[in-house]
């Protein structure tokens, strides 16, 4: 048994959120630099130059990459052999975000009631938590603040069970074509195939945690990712939607078992400011 004090969890959340909002992960930065080399549109290259200059400015001046500081999504992997001591775990996760928001001068994005009383909670809480129990003594945390531009442009489609690869490709193309220009391209496209109405979107979101350029371990899905990337870039949307050859930096596919009568596909778009930061205790 391993004991972790939840104050350490709180401090890790705070550290990772502050890093996520001001520094792009190195894989995203490299992908943007590569995009600048391969983009054929002059307007698109100018946008990419500004995005790369923005990354330098945010890092140097310790200010957020984007004024939409996002709704904080936390992915936790907690070993079965871990016992927590100290304040409640959920409260510690919220407290980490609260402290990061105050100390990092983040814009507060969260309203507690979605429909009738859209009052800002003033501290970017409550956070969204996905907790997975794993064997052993591991404690892993990924902080993924997600802006609304990409979320508002994301889709869920219930395809017919034998629709096959062509139906999936059509659904992904349609999703990106319809809303991609408004989600701050170049995008990272997360595709969740299988599961059901709640897990397909979660698979799509989880796929965005994988570094840009990495492929699904299953060669069939790795090939599908490459095909989807080509299809999406063939749409011509380009950086900022001004037209170009780099609409997406990557497409990631994650899959799960599903019902015999269905083929759910969720497409979760992430803007070029793919802000994720990972740490362990």
């Amino acid at each position: 048994m391993r004991t972790i004090h939840t104050d350490r969890v709180r401090d890790l959340v705070k550290l990772l959120l502050l890093r996520a909002v001001t520094e792009l992960p190195s894989d995203v930065r490299s992908a943007l630099q590569n995009a600048l080399v391969i983009e054929k549109s002059a307007a698109g290259r100018k946008v990419l130059e500004e995005i790369l200059e923005n990354e330098r400015a945010a890092r140097a001046e310790r200010i957020p990459l984007c004024q939409d500081c996002g709704l904080a999504v936390l992915f936790l992997e907690v070993g079965e052999a871990i016992r927590f001591e100290g304040p409640d775990l959920t409260e510690s996760l919220n407290e980490g975000v609260r402290q990061a928001s105050a100390e990092g001068f983040l814009r507060t994005m969260v309203v507690f009631d979605p429909l009738y009383r859209r009052e800002n909670t003033g501290d970017n809480t409550p956070v969204i938590v996905h907790l997975e129990r794993v064997p052993g003594e591991t404690f892993r945390l990924c902080v993924f603040p997600k802006g609304m531009g990409g979320e508002a442009a994301s889709t869920f489609t219930a395809l017919p069970p034998l629709g096959g690869e062509e139906a999936v490709v059509a659904a992904v193309r349609q999703a990106v074509d319809l809303y991609g220009a408004n989600a701050c391209p170049p995008l990272i496209v997360g595709v969740g195939i299988g599961g059901n109405f709640e897990t397909a979107p979660l698979l799509a979101k989880k796929s965005l945690l994988r570094p840009v350029g990495t492929r699904n371990a299953d060669p069939r899905y790795a090939r599908l990712e490459r095909r989807l990337l080509e299809e999406v870039n063939g749409l011509g949307i380009g950086p900022a939607g001004y037209g170009g050859t780099v609409t997406a930096l990557d497409v990631h596919v994650e899959v799960g078992p599903t019902h015999a009568a269905g083929l759910p596909v969720a497409v979760n778009l992430c803007c070029h400011a793919c802000r994720r930061a990972e740490g362990t205790l």
Partner: protein, 198 residues
């Protein structure tokens, strides 16, 4: 040569009729002068004030609206990061403001077909600022003043003074739309609606 390869055009707000003539689709510009930062709640209020024949808290003739937001300033800075938000969300309240004389909007992403028509009919322009480049864009903001309606909380409009804010003409006064024209130039094959199996 693509207009984007040209050097950017320096313009200032409020926008005059002669300045508007040079603002063709795809042209890069550096905008200096006052701009009014406002989102849904503030734009809805402004549209209501116009409908009731009341005065706006700014002069609409030639004015430039900025669909965006900013983070709080850390000590020693006038502003945190500032950038555009999805302008499509502002479409429901855009027409009354254009009719009142607003000539420019700054934002990101496509506009609805109805707004492209309204932009042409009113002889206005829609500028794109790079989304998610808010630390970079903050360098072009000189000052920020709240322009109070008084009860909109975090949704109050702000008057900004910008200097050489880098923008692209995304929809011009003739209704040319960079999102449509740009995509057409780079799309591979036809973009027919594919069969998704149903």
């Amino acid at each position: 040569m693509s207009p984007c390869l040209d050097s950017p055009l320096r313009i200032s707000s409020p926008l005059t009729a002669s300045a508007l003539r040079d603002l063709t689709c795809g042209k890069r510009v550096l905008l200096s002068g006052p701009v009014l930062l406002a989102r849904e709640a503030a734009l809805r209020r402004m549209a209501q004030e116009i409908e009731r024949g009341k005065a706006l808290p700014f002069t609409p003739e030639g004015a430039v609206l900025f669909h965006g937001g900013f983070t709080p300033p850390p000590p020693g800075r006038k502003i945190g990061s500032i950038g555009p938000t999805t302008s499509l969300r502002m479409d429901p309240w855009t027409c009354p403001l254009l009719r009142a004389g607003v000539k420019g909007m700054i934002g990101k992403g496509k506009r609805s077909p109805k707004i492209v028509v309204a932009i042409r009919e009113c002889g206005a322009v829609y500028f794109g600022a790079t989304g998610g480049a808010a630390a970079f864009l903050s360098r072009s903001v000189r000052s920020v003043y709240p322009l109070l309606f008084g009860d909109l909380g975090s949704e109050e409009p702000y008057l900004l003074e910008v200097f050489e804010l880098p923008l692209v003409v995304a929809i011009d006064a003739e209704g040319n739309d960079l999102f449509e024209q740009g995509q057409k130039k780079f799309i591979k094959g036809t973009n027919q609606k594919q069969n998704n199996g149903w």
